[in-house]
């Protein structure tokens, strides 16, 4: 029962984390197109705070961030298999998401900006830990 609850909490944390990351990019893009600088500062701060809080709660406090960054020598065989599986899934998901975004940008003739690139790098870095948090019963 406790395990189910904790998975649910972790999944909610991941949803908030990834949605806030998307919001950061979307608000930035919207403000750039509409040229609203003051609105940008006011609205951008909300998803940034949500992102930081959900990141701390979901990844730092659960020890997932430490786990995913442990050297291979300190992991046992199950943990190595787990990180390998998560990296494999993360690579697939990241490739699909990035290709969709790049295709959309190419079709709409939208230039790529730094915020999008930074968010994609952050997304790639978060993804393996997010996959473990989403699928594993115990962390």
């Amino acid at each position: 029962m406790e395990i189910k609850k904790s998975i649910k909490k972790r999944r909610i944390g991941i949803i908030f984390n990834l949605l806030s990351l998307c919001s950061i990019v979307l608000i930035f893009e919207y403000c750039k197109i509409e040229q609203r600088d003051s609105a940008f500062i006011a609205f951008e701060i909300i998803p940034i705070i949500i992102f930081i809080v959900s990141f701390i709660v979901t990844f730092i406090k659960t020890g997932l961030w430490g786990f995913i960054h442990k050297p291979l020598k300190k992991l046992d065989e199950r943990e190595i298999a787990l990180t390998s599986k998560s990296l494999r899934y993360a690579y697939g998901v990241f490739t699909v998401v990035t290709l969709i975004i790049l295709l959309f940008l190419a079709v709409t003739y939208t230039p790529i900006d730094v915020v999008l690139v930074a968010s994609l790098i952050l997304f790639a870095h978060i993804l393996p830990a997010a996959i473990i948090a989403w699928t594993e019963k115990e962390i």
């Binding site: 992991l75 046992d76 065989e77 199950r78 943990e79 115990e138 962390i139």
Partner: protein, 80 residues
């Protein structure tokens, strides 16, 4: 290739030896959570890990692990 489920007697043998999950984990060099996964038969150990477990319990690997559901040792002893 899909791996077969491997059944084991780790939970009962650990309790028999009055070992905690942490103690057994330290003896075989894995994380204590891995012991939980092994006991729930949610993870198949490598041959090396299986031998390390058998060394701790001083029993042959074949008596601890099986590809068929295991009958309790007491039942095996009383069986004619």
């Amino acid at each position: 290739m899909e791996s077969r489920k491997i059944y084991n007697r780790i939970a009962i043998l650990r309790r028999e030896k009055s070992l905690t999950r942490n103690e057994l984990a330290d003896k075989i060099g894995v994380n204590f959570q891995t012991i939980g996964y092994l006991e729930r038969e949610e993870y198949n150990p490598s041959l090396d890990l299986a031998f390390r477990i058998s060394e701790v319990f001083e029993l042959p690997v074949g008596l601890i692990f099986s590809i068929e559901p295991l009958t309790p040792l007491s039942q095996l002893l009383t069986k004619k």
